[in-house]
C-alpha cells in the first residue's frame, strides 16, 4: 500500500515556519524531536519541506526520534514525587507513547 504520509525533521523557528496559507492547504502534525508529518506525494508538502530545510526521514527513523523524546519526558515524569503527579487531575497523566502512522 502506498504511503499517505511522509516525515521530516525541521526546527520550528516560530513565525513563518508554518504559514496560514500552508496550514489551510496541508495537514501538518508536529511531534517531539522536531518531527513533522505531512502528506506524501503532495506538491505543497514537498515545497514546505524544502522551505524549512527539512531532512526527510523514513517512518522508522522518525519513530525512533520521537521515542527518544517521549522516553525522556516519561523518565522525568516517573522521577517526580507522587504529590506532584497530581492524580486528582485526570489531565495530568504520564506522557503517553506516540505511534506514528504510515
Amino acid at each position: 500500500m502506498a504511503k499517505t504520509k511522509q516525515y521530516c525533521v525541521a526546527e520550528n523557528w516560530g513565525k513563518g515556519f508554518i504559514e496560514h496559507s500552508e496550514s489551510s492547504r496541508i495537514k501538518f502534525a508536529g511531534y517531539p524531536g522536531n518531527v513533522w508529518q505531512v502528506p506524501a506525494y503532495n506538491k505543497g508538502a514537498n515545497l514546505w519541506i524544502h522551505k524549512v530545510l527539512g531532512t526527510v526521514k523514513t517512518l522508522a527513523e522518525a519513530q525512533a526520534i520521537v521515542d527518544v523524546e517521549v522516553t525522556a519526558v516519561q523518565t522525568a515524569w516517573d522521577a517526580l514525587p507522587d504529590a506532584e503527579k497530581a492524580p486528582a487531575v485526570e489531565g495530568n497523566t504520564r506522557p503517553a507513547d506516540i505511534i506514528l502512522e504510515e
Binding site: 487531575v89 489531565g91 506522557p95
Partner: protein, 313 residues
C-alpha cells in the same frame, strides 16, 4: 495607476448597506459606514506557527489577545511562577507570580489579568496583574485546581475544577461570591466569556463533550462538542468561541462555536500535545504551551476570507 473601472469596465457600487449576499471578488462602498468592502471568498481558518515561549510548560494560565497575550504559572514539577508576554511575534519574560502553581484559571488582558486558584492540592489564592507585577487579592471561596475562568480583571467567573466540581463563583473586582453550579461537575474544562454575566463552559475530564452557557444567574446545557476532551485550550466569547487541543486523543482538534453548534475545523499543527492554553477571539486566537511537545510551541489562529473592509487610509 489604472482605475477600477478601466480594469473591470464598471465603477464600484455605492450602496447604503452591505448586500445580503455577495460572491468572491465583489467590491462595494458602504456610504453609511464609509467603508470600502470586498468579498475575499469562503472564510478559511487555520493555525500558523508563532514565536516559542521561553519556558516550556503545560496547564498554565492565560489571558489577553493574539497580539497581546499573557502566560503565567503552569507545570511540570510542583508549579511554575514564570510569566511571559507575547507581542504577536515573540515572548518576553516579565515578573513572576508570587505563588508557583499549575492548573490555574486566567482572565483579563495582558495588562490587567487575574490568576485564579490552581496548585496541587487546590488553592484558593488569587493574584492580580497590573501589567508589571502580581499582587495577591481576595481568595476564592472554594480552593481548587483544574478550573476554568473567563471575563475581565474586574468582572470574571470561575467554574468547575478538581475533583469534578461544579462550583461557580463570580468576581466583582473585589470579592468572590458563590453562585449557581454547573449542571455537570468537571475539571480541566474549557471556558470563554467577556464578563461575569456571560460565559460558555465546555469539555473537561474524562472526555466530556458537554457545553453549558452562563447568563449571569444559571448554567444551561446546550449542544455538545463533536469531540469531547479534557485539558483543552479556549478563546472567544459565549456566542463565538474556539476550542482546541486537549486529549484524548492528543490530535490538536479545533472546533468553532457559533452560539448554537460546534463545527470541527482545521487542527493545530503541533500534535502529540495536550494541556495547551490560549486566548483571543474566535477569529484571531493564540495557543501556547502543552505537555508532550516541549511546552514552548505557540500557534496563531486566523480566519481569512469572507467580507473584509479595505483600509483606504
Amino acid at each position: 495607476m489604472a482605475k477600477y473601472k478601466d480594469i473591470h469596465g464598471f465603477k464600484i457600487q455605492n450602496v447604503s448597506s452591505d448586500p445580503p449576499t455577495s460572491v468572491a471578488g465583489d467590491m462595494w462602498y458602504n456610504s453609511t459606514s464609509g467603508d470600502l468592502k470586498v468579498n475575499l471568498g469562503t472564510p478559511v481558518g487555520a493555525w500558523s506557527t508563532g514565536g516559542a515561549m521561553n519556558t516550556g510548560r503545560y496547564a498554565l494560565g492565560s489571558a489577553g489577545t493574539q497580539t497581546a497575550a499573557l502566560a503565567f504559572g503552569g507545570l511540570p514539577g510542583s508549579g511554575q511562577t514564570e510569566t511571559e508576554t507575547y507581542n504577536g511575534s515573540s515572548w518576553t519574560e516579565v515578573n513572576d507570580l508570587n505563588t508557583a502553581r499549575g492548573y490555574l484559571g486566567g482572565a483579563g488582558t495582558q495588562t490587567a489579568a487575574l490568576a485564579i486558584g490552581g496548585g496541587v492540592p487546590g488553592q484558593a489564592i488569587v493574584e492580580s496583574w497590573n501589567g508589571s507585577n502580581w499582587t495577591e487579592v481576595n481568595d476564592l471561596n472554594t480552593a481548587r485546581f483544574g478550573l476554568a475562568a473567563s471575563g475581565t480583571q474586574t468582572s470574571s467567573l470561575a467554574y468547575g475544577g478538581a475533583p469534578n466540581q461544579n462550583v461557580t463563583e463570580t468576581w466583582n473586582g473585589t470579592n468572590w461570591t458563590e453562585v449557581n453550579n454547573l449542571n455537570t461537575g468537571r475539571n480541566t474544562l474549557g471556558g470563554a466569556g467577556d464578563s461575569n454575566t456571560s460565559a460558555i463552559a465546555f469539555g473537561g475530564a474524562p472526555g466530556n463533550p458537554a457545553t453549558e452557557l452562563w447568563n449571569g444567574s444559571n448554567w444551561t446545557e446546550v449542544n455538545n462538542m463533536n469531540n469531547g476532551r479534557k485539558d483543552l485550550g479556549s478563546a472567544g466569547i459565549k456566542t463565538a468561541a474556539l476550542a482546541f487541543g486537549g486529549t484524548p486523543p492528543d490530535s490538536g482538534k479545533t472546533e468553532l462555536w457559533n452560539g448554537t453548534n460546534w463545527a470541527e475545523t482545521t487542527s493545530l499543527n503541533v500534535s502529540g500535545n495536550e494541556a495547551q492554553r490560549g486566548c483571543g477571539v474566535q477569529t484571531s486566537a493564540l495557543c501556547f504551551g502543552g505537555q508532550g511537545g516541549g511546552g514552548t510551541a505557540t500557534e496563531e489562529w486566523n480566519i481569512t476570507g469572507g467580507v473584509s473592509t479595505i483600509d483606504a487610509s
